[in-house]
């Protein structure tokens, strides 16, 4: 049905600028999605380069390459760039491309705002990255910007805070757009409980974003006034309290962690059924699990700061609440496995990445459960055990899911199949080396190595060397990813509309590559088209 509808072209669509102007003024969700994805890939490489500086310095004990100030700037910038520059824009880019296609909408609800929310980002990151070249250097107090340390820095703090404000505005606008699109622009018959899970997870993520990004903006604004305008929110000498910042920051920070992972859950929930040739198991419980994870994310923030000295009751509350998160997360993992169970599986690259996600994210989740145990957390906290934990959930979690999504939808975007052989090599290369990179960090943390140190005692040498080798191999392996995408954009085997044999959903009803304008006439959706249906016998 939709093949015909895409042939329609309204008059205002006919006018289309070319060259740079096409991109600068674009209000088309697919073009903006593409820009988001390219931006994110660029930031992934920038942030990755910073990670390699860190791993190079940590290859051997003693300081060889960089001084401690620069090392701290690298750890801080690596985190900010990866979180706000690579992972979040990648998810927003995927949402831009796929949400309208998945719900049968012609475009995003607020296309001009969409253009804005993207174009703020390059400026925000220019501001952020240029601080590295200022006399006082970039931010060096960790991405959490804890005062009073963050207040000791030079004037570059003002640029960092402005950049964070801009990123926040961009994210909020993007989130508003996604909510408006999902709630208002669904095709007839696309009821909420017929929506693909990727759309569901993004809907929930968008609400999280709107709720917490302003809290971050508030926290950093207080830092700004403390540093430059003489207020004392966090300054003990003036009657302020540095711990207060941590509470406000993590009230943002913990939901933020789920902002970085919920869309990944959605992606995996799309890919596993496709390549298992079986419907997603427990669709409704997946939706409820996502919603309850989002809710719980608001009441567990203090588990990032158990060592600040909280009352016993508060610690117990945050410990129990954190442990409870394991339940809905477990439900998701079990549902994915049940989806595969007695399916007819094939293992193309997107499926490989999705399976890698399930395994490695589970490892990250289990170490997260360990971290929730407060008495043991007094040992784990601020060590490499934590570093290993969150890289398992963010790199082999969020980043693997993004890569799975790119391989999954790349044929739809470009009209060509990517090179399957290279894709598989990319997966195996990444999976092996990413484990070599991060797994030894568990031991380092347990053996007593604190995080964010540029140099270490000699007993930590072996594991650091292994980790650094893994880091370099993994890092350079990602150039293959760039090459595969480039090759696929340029040409390759022509992809048909369906692309994957087992794929379901509206996005596979439009031709590949998806034309600039799709679903100008809304498709009709019924149970035969709906991706997931829970009550199928």
């Amino acid at each position: 049905m939709s093949q015909e509808t895409t042939a329609h072209h309204d008059d205002h669509h006919a006018h289309h600028p070319t060259g740079m102007a096409r991109w600068v003024f674009s209000t088309n969700h697919k073009e903006i999605g593409t820009m988001y994805l390219i931006f994110s890939l660029a930031m992934f490489l920038v942030g990755g380069a910073m990670a390699l500086v860190i791993r190079a310095e940590l290859f051997a004990p003693g300081l060889q390459l960089v001084n401690p100030e620069f090392f701290n700037q690298m750890t801080t910038m690596h985190a900010l760039v990866m979180i706000f520059g690579a992972v979040m824009p990648a998810f927003v880019g995927l949402a831009n491309w796929m949400v309208p296609l998945m719900i049968g909408a012609p475009d995003m609800a607020l296309p001009r705002m969409n253009n804005w929310s993207f174009w703020i980002l390059p400026f925000a990151f220019t501001l952020l990255l240029m601080t590295l070249f200022m006399p006082s250097g970039g931010p060096a107090s960790g991405w959490t910007l804890y005062p009073p340390l963050s207040l000791q820095g030079g004037n570059s703090l003002a640029f960092v805070i402005l950049a964070i404000h801009l990123m926040g505005i961009s994210s909020i606008m993007g989130a508003i757009n996604i909510i408006a699109t999902i709630l208002n622009m669904r095709a007839p018959g696309m009821t909420l409980l017929r929506m693909p899970l990727f759309v569901w997870t993004w809907l929930i993520t968008a609400f999280l974003l709107i709720a917490v990004m302003p809290v971050l903006a508030g926290a950093v604004t207080m830092l700004l006034t403390d540093r430059f305008f003489g207020t004392s929110f966090f300054n003990a000498a003036g009657g302020g309290d540095p711990v207060l910042y941590q509470h406000i920051f993590w009230f943002f920070g913990h939901p933020e962690v789920y902002i970085l992972i919920l869309p990944a859950f959605g992606i995996v929930s799309e890919i596993i059924p496709t390549f298992s040739r079986k419907r997603l198991f427990g669709y409704t419980s997946m939706v409820y699990a996502t919603a309850s994870i989002a809710f719980l994310s608001f009441i567990v923030w203090a588990h990032h700061m158990f060592t600040v000295g909280m009352p016993l009751g508060a610690m117990l509350f945050f410990m129990y609440a954190t442990m409870v998160i394991a339940v809905p997360t477990g439900v998701k993992i079990f549902n994915w496995i049940a989806t595969m169970w007695r399916g007819s599986m094939s293992f193309e690259t997107p499926m490989l990445f999705a399976l890698g996600f399930v395994v490695l994210f589970t490892i990250g989740g289990l170490s997260g459960l360990m971290l929730a145990i407060v008495p043991a957390n007094f040992q784990y906290h601020d060590t490499y055990f934590v570093v290993a934990h969150f890289h398992y959930v963010l790199v082999t979690g969020a980043v693997f899911a993004i890569m799975a999504a790119v391989y999954y939808w790349l044929p739809k975007w470009t009209g060509h199949m990517y090179n399957e052989k290279l894709g598989k090599i990319h997966f195996w290369w990444s999976t092996i080396w990413v484990n070599v990179l991060f797994f030894p960090q568990h031991y380092l943390g347990l053996a007593g190595m604190p995080r964010r140190i540029p140099d270490y005692a000699v007993q930590f040498t072996e594991f650091n060397m292994i980790s650094s080798i893994g880091g370099f191999m993994y890092g350079f392996g990602q150039l293959l990813f760039v090459y595969i995408i480039w090759q696929c954009v340029r040409g390759g085997e022509t992809a048909n509309a369906q692309v994957w044999e087992g794929a379901r959903g509206l996005e596979w009803t439009v031709p590949s590559p998806a034309p600039l304008h799709t679903f100008d006439t809304p498709p009709l959706v019924d149970d035969s088209v709906a991706v997931h249906k829970d009550n199928l016998s």
Binding site: I176, M213, P214, G218, A236, L244, H247, F251
Partner: protein, 169 residues
């Protein structure tokens, strides 16, 4: 709209947190001085609690600041007084203020001060020294396991007030 509300909420967290700390005694926060008349509790002669006095001078402040007594064994419910002594060893007048804190945190609610110099600006001329009294009562409802309460003052230079002073002179 929601975004604006949440931005405001971020700021709202500041007073909320402070109120919360005051109620629960998180971070060893103690309220300001209480009025003596409000204290009407019975004196518990059977129980002795050790109160420890600790001082910390921030390194930006050219003062000495010490408790006159390091310990005091007290009966809950009874009013006691002790002093801290501050001495300005700089060659110019300096304004400072002290931030109080009680450990363990759960004892903070049961440590009532009727007179203290917390958060008030203290001005000392060069070479001047001053006795700074603290009057306090330990609430008889203090949990049984607590046998030692630490009253700590961290004293900081008030940069702004000191600068104003220097400008006036």
């Amino acid at each position: 709209m929601l975004a604006m509300a949440m931005f405001g909420f971020g700021y709202l967290l500041v007073p909320l947190y402070e109120k919360f700390c005051e109620i629960t005694g998180i971070g060893g926060r103690t309220g300001g001085a209480m009025v003596e008349a409000e204290l009407s509790s019975e004196i518990d002669h059977d129980r002795t609690v050790r109160v420890q006095f600790v001082s910390t001078v921030n390194s930006a402040l050219p003062w000495r600041f010490e408790p006159t007594e390091r310990f005091m064994d007290v009966h809950p419910g009874k009013l006691y007084e002790t002093k801290y002594i501050a001495y300005n060893r700089a060659d110019h007048a300096v304004v400072a203020q002290a931030v109080p804190s009680v450990s363990p945190g759960r004892a903070a609610l049961f440590f009532n001060k009727t007179e203290c110099f917390c958060f008030t600006e203290q001005l000392l001329s060069p070479g001047e020294s001053r006795d700074m009294p603290v009057r306090f009562v330990v609430d008889p409802n203090l949990p049984d396991r607590v046998d030692l309460v630490t009253l700590s003052y961290i004293i900081y230079k008030n940069d702004e007030a000191t600068a104003v002073l220097a400008a006036v002179n």
